[in-house]
């Protein structure tokens, strides 16, 4: 798969797996309504890149240098090459949200983003949200409300919840249900997750 555009300057920009999926008529991976449309408008075709390509990704404020094949997703590069394994690969096509990361302040399914296209963007993963000195209150709220069982969907839910609270720090119960509709759990932890997001919201208002 390659798209050619003489106008594009920066290698790798505007070239996403989602764009490709859209092109072949498969639903994309935006987490909230409207994102997909915005993205489609912003989409500009890119240069042809092939073979191993050196890239730098800005993840949790740190530069990660690696070499990738252009076809590799951000998710797979994080997991296989950078040992950032919090984000999980479950559906691998933008449905379940287990791979959610925050790219330029927007929740994204990292299985729908090509690694080369994530260059120059600010990427936040659960490692950054939860493992630093000052973890986001949502992290402990998941524990306190037992919002997890096997825990495989949990990283995606925690990141999606953080991104949701960034946008809407004081959500109603109904807004929580709507705002986290882009993630799926198999063990059935939704009741705890709804409580956890509301509790974290209350904590945020009270200051960390």
């Amino acid at each position: 798969m390659s798209i050619k555009d003489p106008e594009a300057k920066k290698p790798g920009s505007g070239f996403s797996r989602r764009g490709f999926l859209q092109g072949v008529g498969v639903g994309g991976g935006a987490l909230s309504t409207g994102v997909l449309e915005n993205e489609a408008q912003a989409q500009t075709p890119a240069n042809v890149i092939s073979g191993e390509t050196a890239i730098t990704l800005q993840i949790n404020g740190k530069p990660y240098k690696t070499t990738v094949e252009p076809r590799r997703t951000l998710l797979d590069v994080m997991r296989d090459q950078l040992d950032l394994t919090a984000a999980k690969r479950v559906c691998d096509r933008g449905t379940c949200g287990a791979c959610t990361v925050i790219v330029d302040n927007k929740a994204m399914y990292s299985c729908t983003v090509l690694a080369i296209d994530a260059q120059g963007k600010k990427i936040e993963t659960l490692e950054g949200i939860a493992q630093g000195r000052n973890p986001h209150p949502i992290v402990n709220a998941f524990v306190a409300n037992d919002a997890q069982q096997c825990g495989y969907c949990t990283p995606g839910f925690v990141v999606a919840s953080k991104a949701f609270l960034d946008r809407n720090p004081s959500p109603t119960f109904d807004q929580v249900k709507e705002g986290l509709g882009g993630n799926l759990c198999r063990c059935g932890t939704y009741v705890g997750i709804r409580k956890a997001v509301l509790e974290a919201s209350a904590k945020l208002k009270g200051g960390r």
Binding site: R71, A130, D146, C150, V158, C187
Partner: protein, 712 residues
């Protein structure tokens, strides 16, 4: 011999408290390492080539091009020429390469010549399955003819519940490394202590040479017991590469196609009753598929198995579809759905409230008193009296209804051994070859050890997930919590007894006069006479205490037992124009024994309720009769309920002094059984029409409303 029995409720310090799971922060911070997260040095990636045909014979297979491709370290043929493939997705070959994309490239370069044979993949119409039907014979109890003659009202219906998949979020797989004569194995498994045997047998090496380790796993639900073929093949690929580790995890399509499904169940059921509601007879002709091997009969009539007169016929249907694996409470959700649906339909025909009808027949169940109490509790929680109306008496486009379903399960503890080590510095370790599937096993074990020793939980190091620890059973059938809690209780009491023996002389007393409470060892009845835990352990000198404990399922000694009943009730709203079903509320009243950690126990029940919502409203594996493949082997069209689809869920655990005395009972399965029936019955109550098949998707609801359903 010391007493192992659980401390009296009023004396417990930790058991019964609502404790947050110990590995919670590891999971919510992303630190928890699952088998699929392992990235050891030099890792290779294995990818399967699977059959696109549901029924075919492999004529030839050419791997020469794949073998020469970039990054490829090994190619193995799994289905050799001459092999007859019986379902699409069957493993044909496997490739290992230095990256996953390179392995996928090589898989695409393998050429297979198939002789395609006719396939058969749908079982819903028994009249069309022909030779694929394998009748299981007739089973008669009492005199069904007389029973139906006795009946004043009869009711007949056909009900269907489809094949669903486990859809584990972490796919089936492992990282595996065959180095020298040793195999290091990191599988996503429900059977840490036993899975090595199966792997070793297939690799023809001694089981002692296989080390199994697993800290966390991403869901199994009954499907992750075996050493799967792709694990075994990956071990060979590791060996062929000179001992590099190999990661093999199924892609989502294979996960939903070959890693196990729950059998379907279809039944034509006829029931007869007196006008007062007393059931006189049951007759069912059921059929099911569990893939090529057919499918066993669900336990019908469910729970009400003392109905005096019944006739059962069952037919297993062999399909060219992926095989079944145990699915949380095998065959029970199907049996509950079929039985409770038929009950609700007969109750409606009798113009009876289904609660009254169920109550009227509780003498046919093994535990009438418990169900009676639970029906009353559930009715109170869902406000049945206020919200229930006779079937179909709603009007308008949007209609509301209530329904109920029941469950029953065993849940006694499995065989388990545990070891406790008390070190001279006062630190405590618990070693046990069990696994925590995410149900809170680690936490429960730390609670039990802390309770025995009178210590805070933070002083207990729980070590599980390793086959070098004492053998504990696989996690299936809700047997884990009873087994591991009992062995841990015994191991900790045995170790404590040794500690008492070591320090009794220095307190001028005998070991049986000592107790461990609040971080101290003291003389019973003389709390001032004692010493701190640490001082006591120092008296051990340089030798730790190392004691075992065992749960023998034949002699649980009151620590654990079987038998959990339960009732679920649903409140739904149905849009009769769009066919959309909205769950307003689901309540679960769950019988239990001694509950170690009410917080995680409740989560188990909540999760099971949500799984029931998925099976009732969204889940179905759809086979394509043309291609013979699964049409929805993905997560867009294999639908799980989302966070906004589940309504309000209320759980009531029957935590009572009487239940506490029974000992521990496993809870994983029973709560996953009755919800489907409850929701389906609520829809029948709301619309006045039986939607004969779940899931209750608009297509099925509208077909029933417009008279095109099975029972039209």
């Amino acid at each position: 011999m010391p007493s192992y029995s659980w401390p009296e409720p009023e004396k417990r310090k930790i058991i019964g408290q609502r404790i947050s799971r110990l590995d919670g922060l590891d999971k919510s911070s992303g630190r928890a390492k699952y088998p699929s997260d392992r990235n050891p040095q030099g890792l290779l990636y294995a990818v399967l080539l699977t059959s696109p045909h549901a029924h075919a014979k492999v004529r030839s297979i050419d791997t020469s091009a794949a073998e020469k491709m970039k990054g490829v370290t090994g190619v193995r043929v799994i289905s050799k020429p001459g092999t007859e493939i019986q379902w699409a997705g069957t493993e044909v070959a496997i490739v290992a390469a230095t990256s996953e994309p390179l392995a996928r490239d090589a898989v695409r370069a393998i050429k297979v010549d198939y002789e395609v044979l006719p396939h058969f993949v749908r079982e819903e119409d028994l009249s069309k399955v022909g030779a694929r039907a394998k009748p299981a014979g007739e089973q008669i109890t009492g005199d069904p003819e007389a029973g139906f003659k006795d009946a004043e009202v009869t009711s007949e219906g056909t009900y269907a519940i489809p094949v669903i998949t486990h859809c584990c979020l972490e796919p089936h797989g492992a990282v595996i490394q065959w180095e020298g004569d040793k195999v290091n194995y990191w599988p996503s498994t429900q059977a840490v202590s036993t899975v090595a045997n199966e792997l070793a047998r297939n690799l023809e090496i001694p089981a002692t040479n296989v080390r199994v380790q697993m800290e966390h796993m991403g869901g199994g639900f009954g499907s992750k017991f075996p050493a799967d073929r792709w694990h075994i093949e990956s071990a060979h690929l590791s060996k062929a590469s000179g001992g590099k580790p190999v990661k093999v995890f199924l892609d989502r399509a294979s996960e939903l196609t070959i890693a196990g499904v729950r059998p379907s169940h279809f039944a034509k059921i006829k029931m007869g009753a007196k006008k007062d509601g007393t059931i006189t007879a049951w007759q069912s002709e059921s059929w099911s598929t569990g893939g090529f091997a057919g499918g066993g009969m669900a336990p019908l009539p469910y729970v009400f198995n003392k109905i005096p007169n019944f006739r059962l016929n069952h037919t297993a249907v062999s399909l060219n579809t992926g095989p079944i694996r145990a699915w949380r409470a095998p065959n029970h959700p199907q049996a509950s759905f079929l039985t409770c649906s038929a009950f609700e339909d007969l109750a409606a025909k009798l113009n009876m409230d289904p609660i009254t009808f169920f109550e009227k027949n509780l003498q046919f169940t093994p535990r009438p008193d418990i169900y009676k109490r639970q029906l009353a509790k559930g009715a109170e929680m869902i406000d049945w009296k206020k919200n229930w109306h006779p079937r179909g008496q709603g009007s308008g486009v949007i209609r509301r209804g209530l329904g109920l379903g029941i469950n029953s399960w065993g849940g006694a503890g499995h065989a388990s051994k545990a070891r406790t080590i008390i070190h001279p510095d006062g630190s405590v370790e618990l070693e046990i070859g069990t696994q925590d599937l995410g149900v809170g096993t680690r936490t429960v074990l730390a609670m039990i050890a802390a309770e025995s020793f009178g210590l805070p939980m933070s002083m207990i190091k729980v070590k599980l997930g390793d086959n070098q620890y004492p053998v504990s059973g696989p996690s299936g059938g809700s047997t884990t919590v009873g087994g591991v809690s009992s062995s841990t209780r015994k191991a900790t009491i045995n170790a404590l007894t040794k500690l008492f023996e070591a320090i009794a002389p220095s307190l001028n007393t005998t070991p049986d006069q000592l107790e461990a409470i609040d971080g101290r060892i003291r003389v019973i009845g003389n709390p001032d006479k004692g010493m701190s835990w640490k001082q006591a352990c120092q008296k051990l000198g340089v030798t730790p205490i190392n004691e075992m404990g065992e749960n023998d399922p034949k002699k649980p000694e009151g620590l654990n037992t079987a038998g959990a009943a339960g009732v679920q009730m649903a409140d739904v709203t149905v849009d009769t124009e769009t066919g959309r079903v909205k769950l307003n509320r689901l309540v679960a009243v769950q019988d239990c024994g001694l509950i170690v950690n009410p917080k995680t126990a409740e989560s188990q029940v909540l999760g099971a309720c949500i799984m029931s919502v998925c099976a009732a409203l969204t889940e179905e594996r759809v086979m394509d009769p043309q291609t013979g493949r699964v049409l929805n082997a993905d997560m867009e069209f294999y639908k799980l309920a989302g966070i906004s689809d589940i309504g309000e869920i209320l759980v009531h655990m029957d935590i009572t002094p009487e239940n506490d005395k029974r000992g521990i009972i496993g809870l994983g399965e029973p709560c996953a059984i009755g919800g489907i029936a409850a929701i389906a019955n609520a829809v029948a109550n709301a619309t006045g029409v039986r939607v004969p098949q779940v899931p209750l998707i608009p297509k099925n609801v509208l077909a029933a409303l417009h008279g095109q359903g099975r029972n039209a």
